[in-house]
Every structure is written in C-alpha cells, then in structure tokens.
C-alpha cells in the first residue's frame, strides 16, 4: 500500500496541521459557564441522598428495616434454582441461548390475589460497572400494592436495593399512581420523573421497562405518564410506549446470582453467575477484608448471556465475592459485581 502522501499538493502533514489548528480554534471558543463544580457537587449530594443505605454504618439498619425483603430474595432465588434465567431471558432476544421460558417467576401467591397478600417480584436497579450504568436484578418479597403485581414491583424499585452497590435512578419518593394494561402495553402513571443527565435518564426508563416486563410477561411495552401526562424531559421524547433495549446495551454484563447479598450459606459455597464476557471467562475472587482468600473462574459465553456456576470451599466467616471480566488489555477488572455473604 502506498502511504497517502503528497497527493494533489496536500500532504498528511499539512492536513494534520490544519485539523489540529481547526480543532484548537473551535475548542477555544467553548468556555464553560463556571458553575460546573457546584453543579457536580449538588449532583453528588442528590445521588448520596437517594442511596444513603450505601453507607456501611447504616447498612445494618437498612438490612434490619428490609429484613423481610432479604428473606424474600433467598426464597425467590431458591425457587428459581431450576431456571434461574427465566426472567432475564423472557424477552427471547437473539443473544439469549439459555432455555427460554415465558413462565413468570414462581410467586408465593397468585397475581390476582386481593390486597393483604405478599408476592415475589423482580426488581431492576442501576449500578455503575466502571464503564457505564447498567441494570441488575434482585427479587423482592413484598406486600401486594393496590396497583397489583406490576405496581408492587415498581414501588419496590423506588426503594432501596438489598445490594448496597445498586441504586435506583428514580427519586425515592416517587409513587405509583395507576397501572393499566391494554394488549401488550402497560400504562404506568407515576408521581415523579428522574432529573438527571440523558444517559442516566435512559437507564432509569429502562430500569422501569425491565422491571415491568419481567413482572408481567404479557407486557412488552410501557407507556410512561407523570401525573397523567407524558414525562417532561430535556433529553428525549418519552410520549410513545418504550420496549426493552437490547440486553447487551443495558443489562449488567456480569450478575452474581448466588450467593445473594447478606446471605448465610454452607461450605462449599455454590457460586453462580449470569452474564457474558470476553471468551466467556468470568474471574471470581473471594476477599476477607482486603485479603484475597480464593480465586477461580466460571465460563459463560462471548456475546450472549448464559449462567455458569462453580463451588468454592471456605472456612466459616464473612466474605466478599467479586465477579468480573479481566481486561484483555491489562487484566484490570471490568463489569464488577460484588456480594457480601457469611459462611456458617
């Protein structure tokens, strides 16, 4: 191949110089407004106020407050052991190869039960995996909301996650005003809408869409209303029903399914993950405090989401499991999910 030099008098050097000068001139006209730092600080404060349960000192209090939900997670996952991917796979997207089922997650009560009963619902949260905000799922055991099973799941989504690394992009005070279904579309009227940047707003809407469509498999699209009207957004038009974005775009690339956050388990510990990684390889590391006590691997798949599991022998004690993909470039952890648990 001939190097593209000296063609019609314009060399790469002069083109490079022109481009560099043009970009620098263009950039020099851009002057930030000067209140950036205070905006960032208030954004951080807002984030912290909605994820106060992240703070370790409060984690125990939070765990006590939502003890019922913690129990529900264990139960729900236990019931799902045969088909732990049924909800994640229910969209039937092409990258999903695990046995797909359109059966809803097993629940402790029928979804047509009147108020007063409890139900297990899938709830999606947001977590920054180091590169992007992505969606992660928990099961919550909760009292049935007057707006039915969908209302219950969405209401849980506005509250805290069991895993302190996860949070909701929605204001925690948001309420479900009504849920109606027509065909494959659910219309959900809410009392508030996230006030965030475009990317976070996208994830918040997908958090809602994933939660609703996982809760009711007949629903494929969600029409969003805020106090009866289409949401006012500075970023996007949400007046049309929204379907799930492709899993590879929005879903957490590596989920730890077991052990669940805060669980007490026997040894050997069954570790199962759900996800996708380069050459399928998910690194599993177990930490006690800052000390790594075990490392192994699980093989998922490349470009598609599958479940993989292994067992790790551990002495009694408290541990943190980290599951991630090692960067092909420098081995640094990508798409990290963590769970703390206790071995009896």
């Amino acid at each position: 191949m001939t190097p593209p030099r000296e063609r019609d008098g314009m060399t790469d050097d002069t083109l490079e110089t022109r481009l560099r000068r043009a970009l620098n001139t263009e950039a020099s006209m851009v002057n930030p407004s000067g209140d950036g730092l205070s905006r960032i600080r208030s954004g951080i404060a807002e984030e912290q106020s909605t994820v106060w349960w992240r703070r370790p000192a409060l984690a125990l209090v939070a765990a006590a407050l939502i003890g019922l939900a913690v129990g529900g997670v264990a139960v729900a996952l236990g019931q799902n052991d045969d088909q732990p991917n049924d909800i994640a796979n229910q969209t039937g997207e092409p990258q999903t190869t695990a046995p797909a089922t359109t059966e809803p997650a097993p629940t402790s009560s029928s979804s047509t039960d009147p108020g007063g009963s409890t139900v297990d619902v899938p709830v999606y949260y947001v977590h920054d995996d180091g590169l992007a905000l992505r969606l992660y799922r928990e099961f919550h055991h909760a009292a049935m909301n007057p707006e039915g099973k969908i209302g219950t799941a969405v209401d849980q989504m506005f509250g805290p996650a069991v895993d302190p690394d996860y949070s909701s992009s929605w204001p925690s005070t948001t309420e479900v005003l009504s849920v109606t279904k027509s065909g494959d579309t659910a219309t959900i009227d809410l009392s508030a809408f996230p006030s965030t940047g475009a990317a976070a707003e996208d994830k918040a809407v997908q958090q809602l869409v994933y939660t609703v469509t996982a809760t009711d498999n007949a629903v494929k699209k969600v029409r969003l209303l805020v106090n009866g009207k289409a949401p006012q957004s500075g970023h996007s038009d949400w007046s049309q029903p929204v379907a799930r974005a492709p899993m590879l775009d929005v879903q957490g690339l590596i989920w730890i399914l077991t052990p669940t956050q805060g669980s007490k388990v026997g040894s050997p510990v069954k570790v199962s993950v759900y996800g996708t990684a380069f050459e399928g390889t998910v690194t599993l590391q177990v930490f006690q405090g800052d000390t790594q006590v075990a490392e192994t691997f699980a093989t998922t798949a490349m470009g598609m989401f599958v479940e993989a599991s292994t067992t790790i022998k551990l002495d009694p004690g408290s541990y943190e499991l980290r599951a991630f993909e090692s960067s092909a470039k420098d081995g640094s952890p990508l798409h990290v999910d963590t769970k703390t648990f206790t071995v009896k």
């Binding site: 593209p4 063609r7 019609d8 314009m10 790469d12 083109l15 490079e16 022109r18 481009l19 560099r20 000068r21 043009a22 970009l23 620098n24 001139t25 263009e26 950039a27 020099s28 006209m29 851009v30 002057n31 930030p32 407004s33 950036g36 730092l37 905006r39 960032i40 600080r41 954004g43 951080i44 984030e47 920054d128 180091g130 590169l131 992007a132 905000l133 965030t196 940047g197 475009a198 990317a199 976070a200 996208d202 970023h235 996007s236 038009d237 470039k329 952890p333 990290v336």
Partner: protein, 171 residues
Amino acid sequence: MTVDDAVTWDADEAITQIYAAHYRSLVRLAALLLRDVGASEEVVQDSFIAMHGAWRRLRDPDRALAYLRQSVVNRSRSVLRHRTVELRHAPAPMPDAASAEHGAMGSLEHQEVIVALRRLPERQREVLVLRYYADLSEADIADAIGISRGAVKSHASRGMAALRTTLEQTA
C-alpha cells in the same frame, strides 16, 4: 502534587482537584463531538458525578482521567443518538450558530475543516478529535472509545482520507 498525595485523596478531594485540572478541556472535548456547550457541560458533569462514585476503585488521577474520557465519549454518543428525536419535537437554535459567529471572525479556512469533520462517521470523528485535539496516544484513544488499537489506526486513516477528499473538492 505527586501521585502519593493523590492516593490519599478522598472522593470529594479528587473531584475538586481533577475538576480544576481537566474540567474545561473535557467540556471542550465534548463540545467538539456535540457542538452544544450546554449539553457538553451536562455530559462532563454527569461523568464527574459517576467518577465520584467510582473513586474507591480508581484511586489514581490518571485512571480517573481515563475513566472521565471514556464516560464523556460514551455519554456524548448517547446525546447524539437522542438529538434527532429532540430536533424533531423541539426545533433548537441552529446548531451552526456558533460556527456562523466564527466565520464572522474571519477563520473560514478552519471552518471548512470542521464542517468536513462533522460529515465523518461517528467513530472516525471521535478518533480524530481525540488524536488531534486531546493529543492522546493510540492506546489511550482505544481505551477511551472502547475499541482495539488496530481499529483506532484504521478509523484514523479512513477519517483522514475522507477529510482530504472533501477538502480537495471544496478547495
């Protein structure tokens, strides 16, 4: 300031220090991709907010800056994806307004380059902006965009070839 100092920063200190050193250049980087200063500031602010949450894992100004660049490129792309929708529903001020002002300042010559750059596919434009404005190495560009170094090379050479063709046609 040494890296030793930096690793003892807490997340709030990190934000303050890195903001002082890099906020303006990151906004300018986003603006070259987005042509909208307001949206660019928002993108960079959101990136700093995310970095605050990730500081526990970053703990190093260089890694934090790499994280911010990645985040700015990703979020800018997401804004661009939404722009068609926004323009259809709420006709915004002419996106070329800033450039028109520019032309009046007498730098028409560089304006041709910027216009040609805007016609390039997204990846090629990102690679050229990171290379010739941000002065990043091939490896850092690969990291910021999330592609291989080989892909950086090929986007750069295709982008330059397309720029040359456009500029020769208009010359």
